[in-house]
């Protein structure tokens, strides 16, 4: 079924003058429901198929390349798309680094536990019931849970098929199930919200819906009565979910194009110490049931485990074949690919290895500082590493949580922040492909009153 349009597109591209091509077909089915209070707010169901083609045309000095994609798979549309893509490739400039990977395509596709087939037959009503349980549990925690933005259950099933003109063909199925709860706590005329989520490759891997709702409610409740603090420099402790956000910034700065473009502050730092010795970061595209796992990457290369940072030293970039050629390095099986865009390197399952401290110990070891539970805004510049984002959390006095705080920013340079990590927690929290345990940074600027 999936092979048909792929092989047709590849064959036609070559007939039209492409010297090489690869194509991906993403076929997905998903459903989502949100419950707010006692009411269903919405139910959505979708089916979509998108085909993407990358075609190369030979020219003096390199290959020319173009990408085409369509959700309309009618034969006539597909033929026109192929023809237009090859024609568009003829208009771009020859690039000596462009091309398919130089061999090494995945030969075995391991079973990674990315789907539980029986979940396909779980009716939407069962997921609606999950959302209802999360919502009810959140509201039952405390009378100060006065409202909510709803509890959301979603399931999607995706089949990715990929082939190229070198004869590689592979496909895999995966699933993504989520349950999110977003309650609102209110007291003394002020409102605070927070959320919790559980995500997994199978329904069985999800946390109990009531536990998701309760945890979300507890997080919202503890923000009630938030105040501001004066501008200061203090140690900053990150919960796992806010530490994860820092790892996301790091992932972008060790991946692909940012390095040859020199739009990463880490460009040129391979082999250098870029973080404290407490920091070891791994990317593993084959982590069983991992939310970023896949058997092969967006160019058909096998995914693998890459040591990115080992005891503070930057060991490897994450590269697709194009970025690899630009840098004179082999690709790392890190190409991610949506049908409508060129392959580009990104992290798969990317995490900070756990250390020895518990979050409680980190708090107890902090005389005065900030525990960040909420980060927002886009104040990170990957070129310089400058970091300044909105934050809320809990204020620490004498090694204890004293009161909630908000309307603050925390600022520093990601390079200094990584070097300043002086404690790493023992438990990694997986809420996506990027994950971290809690951690503490010795000193950052907190701006407030």
């Amino acid at each position: 079924m999936s092979e048909g349009p792929l092989r047709q597109a590849l064959a036609r591209a070559q007939r039209r003058g492409a010297c090489a091509a690869d194509a991906v077909l993403v076929d997905s089915e998903s459903r989502e429901a949100r419950v707010r209070g006692d009411e269903i707010e919405f139910v959505t169901q979708e089916r979509s198929r998108t085909l993407g083609l990358r075609a190369f045309v030979r020219a003096p000095g390199g290959l020319r390349v173009a990408i085409g994609s369509t959700t309309d798979l009618a034969a006539s549309t597909l033929e026109r798309l192929v023809d237009e893509t090859v024609e568009l490739a003829g208009a771009t400039a020859p690039d000596p680094c462009a091309g398919l990977p130089d061999g090494g395509f995945a030969t075995e596709l391991p079973e990674l536990g990315l789907i539980e087939p029986a979940d396909r037959s779980v009716p939407l009503e069962a997921r609606i019931a999950d959302a209802r349980r999360a919502e009810a549990a959140a509201r039952a925690v405390d009378p100060r849970i006065t409202n909510s933005q709803g509890s959301d259950a979603s399931s999607s099933f995706t089949r990715v098929a990929f082939g190229n003109s070198e004869g590689f063909f592979g496909e895999y199925e995966s699933a993504y199930h989520g349950l999110t709860s977003m309650p609102v706590a209110g007291a003394d005329g002020a409102m605070q919200t927070d959320w919790w989520v559980s995500i997994g490759r199978s329904l069985a891997a999800l946390e109990d819906p009531a536990a998701v709702g309760r945890r979300a409610a507890e997080r919202a409740l503890r923000r009630l009565g938030s105040r501001r603090v004066r501008t200061c420099r203090v140690p900053v402790v990150f919960e796992a979910i806010t530490a994860r956000s820092l790892l996301g910034h790091l992932a972008g700065c060790v991946s692909g194009a940012a390095l040859y473009r020199k739009t990463s502050f880490l460009a040129g730092k391979l082999g250098h110490a870029i973080a404290s010795e407490a920091v070891t970061v791994v990317d593993d595209g084959r982590r069983p049931a991992g939310l970023g796992s896949r058997p092969f990457d967006g160019e058909g290369l096998p995914t693998r485990r890459t040591m990115v940072v080992e005891r503070g030293v930057l060991k490897s970039w994450l590269l697709d074949s194009y970025a690899g050629r630009k840098l004179g390095l082999p690709p790392t099986g890190s190409a991610s690919r949506s049908p409508g865009s060129a392959p580009s390197a990104s992290s798969t399952n990317f995490w900070l290895e756990p250390g020895r401290s518990s979050l409680a110990e980190m708090i107890a070891g902090t005389e005065r500082g900030l525990l960040v539970t909420w980060l927002f805004g886009h104040g990170f510049d990957p070129v310089t590493g400058d970091f300044s984002r909105g934050a809320a959390g809990l204020w620490i006095e004498d090694g204890r949580v004293a009161f909630p705080v908000h309307e603050l920013t925390i600022a520093g340079n990601l390079g200094d922040m990584l070097a300043g990590i002086d404690a790493v927690g023992s438990e990694v929290e997986w809420l996506g492909g990027v994950a971290a345990p809690p951690l503490r940074i010795a000193s950052m600027t907190v701006a407030g009153e």
Partner: protein, 481 residues
């Protein structure tokens, strides 16, 4: 020759569907007692070409086509979408959408009638997707050469031209049917400057709108974008650390309207107010800004990125006053939230694509000009920050706290611009930040046409605008004590 109204002509010629087919699908979606149903058919073509390292590295072209069918009962919505547009798949989608209705009753009769299009805000001679790709590629080459020639410290140039043509058809069970063709262009220029010590800084400028791409193909169209990107990168090479703490801030006119978008715009969207989860809920008629502050959301500005002839529920866009002389007077509504709040829809029901449910969203959001001379405003500040350029922002609707990143800023010392400082985030509280507006400039400017707003995972193009503004006491998130 056909005298069919445009929407019905599009249904027939674009999708092979007659008025009777649309009526039958709407009627099916209404079964089991739904209050309202609509269909959204979309075909979007987009192409883009991109340059980096002096090479026009890639071109791409995309076609996305599909249909979404929605049914509403009370507060509930059912939605199903598919990229297959046939009467059969539409009927299946209608069946899936109406599962949220639990009443009885069979399919109902619907009669669609086309209304005249209310306005024509982007009548183009040439669709941007019809401009030959060679002209777009030639533009990238000129941008690259010009940027590198501007200063030897420019070590990297990244530029792209994105052209989109979106055709929508919306038919609803109240009989309304509307169609629109929405062109959109965007030119992006990003440069990296590097000094002798190896310090690197980025400069970005973009421009666009629902306008002829030809406007950007001439030197007078694209050169200002390059000049600005180069200026910003070089400026930041010499910028020092930003101060931290609460201080008076002067916002430059134009793109700083991002502040309005985050601080008040989202909080005034109908859904959050109906549910009571916005910090602005229940505050209509109350003072939320200083006297003189009037904030408008206007989807009817010709050629602007945030403008639409009709929204994604088929209703004409309009000019909506949100805050008038400091008093909260209106919300932004889609059909569902307007109905549930007993208000009129305001033409703000928008969706990213047929794969998404409509939500109340902003279009072009700006503050009207005041009386003050912008230079006089700057002179009135002894110490503070002048924020000239911005990245993105975000808001926590419920607590009202908003944050946005500044990409160009200067210290203000003795009423004059001092040393440039590097980007920091500004943070504040939406419901009271505008009450601390002390001066409003006479120089309202709209942005250059690059804004994209995200909500519930859906991105839509928007515009913002602001006159020079003095706000007393905003928290600046720098690193210098």
């Amino acid at each position: 020759m056909s005298d069919l109204p445009a929407p019905l002509r599009l249904a027939r010629d674009g999708y092979g569907l007659g008025a009777g087919d649309l009526e039958a699908v709407l009627g099916a979606a209404l079964a089991r007692g739904a209050d309202f149903a609509d269909l959204f058919l979309e075909r979007t073509t987009q192409d883009s070409v991109a340059l980096e390292d002096g090479i026009v590295k890639s071109g791409d072209r995309h076609v996305a086509q599909g249909v979404g069918v929605r049914a509403q009962v009370g507060e509930r919505q059912g939605y199903a979408h598919t990229d297959e547009i046939t009467l059969e798949s539409l009927r299946l989608a209608a069946g899936a959408a109406r599962t949220i209705a639990e009443g009885s009753g069979g399919e109902r009769a619907v009669a669609v009638r086309a209304a005249r299009a209310p306005h024509d805000l982007y009548p183009l001679a040439t669709a941007p997707t019809d401009v030959p790709v060679r002209e777009k590629i030639a533009l990238l080459g000129e941008i690259d050469a010009y940027a590198r020639g501007r200063d030897p410290r420019i070590v990297q140039v990244m530029a792209s031209v994105v052209s989109q043509q979106r055709s929508v058809l919306i038919a609803s069970s109240d009989g309304g049917i509307a169609s629109d063709v929405q062109p959109l262009v965007r030119v992006n220029v990003q440069v990296v400057a590097e000094d002798a010590r190896g310090r690197r800084e980025l400069g970005y400028q973009g421009g666009g709108g629902r306008v002829e791409l030809a406007a950007y193909l001439t030197a007078s169209g694209w050169r200002p974008l390059v000049d600005e990107a180069v200026r910003l990168a070089l400026l930041n090479l010499g910028a020092g650390p930003c101060p931290a703490g609460t201080m008076d801030v002067v916002l430059a006119p134009g793109w700083a309207g991002v502040l309005l978008h985050e601080a008040v715009g989202h909080g005034l969207e109908g859904d959050f107010n109906r549910k009571g989860t916005s910090a602005f809920a229940g505050r209509i008629g109350q003072r939320v800004a200083a006297p003189g502050v009037t904030v408008v959301d206007d989807g009817t500005l010709p050629g602007r990125r945030g403008s639409l002839n009709v929204d994604d529920e088929g209703l004409p866009t309009q000019r909506n006053v949100l805050i008038e002389d400091g008093i909260l007077v209106g919300y932004l509504q889609d059909r569902l939230n307007a109905r549930l709040m007993g208000m009129a829809p305001t033409g703000n029901g928008r969706r990213q694509s047929y794969q998404h449910l409509p939500l109340p969203r902003m279009t072009n959001t700006f503050m009207l000009a005041g009386q003050d001379d912008p230079e006089e405003i700057l002179r009135s500040v002894d110490r503070g920050l002048y924020a000239a350029n911005f990245g993105g922002g975000q808001v926590d609707i419920t607590s009202g706290k908003f944050v946005f990143a500044v990409s160009e800023a200067y210290r203000i010392e003795g009423g004059r611009l001092g040393a440039p400082v590097k980007g920091a985030s500004l943070i504040g509280n939406g419901p009271d930040v505008l009450t601390r507006v002390r001066r409003i400039g006479s120089d309202l400017q709209l942005d250059h046409g690059v804004g994209t707003c995200g909500k519930e995972g859906q991105s839509v193009p928007v515009g913002v605008g602001l006159p020079t503004l003095l706000i007393e006491g905003i928290t600046v998130g720098g690193t210098e004590g």
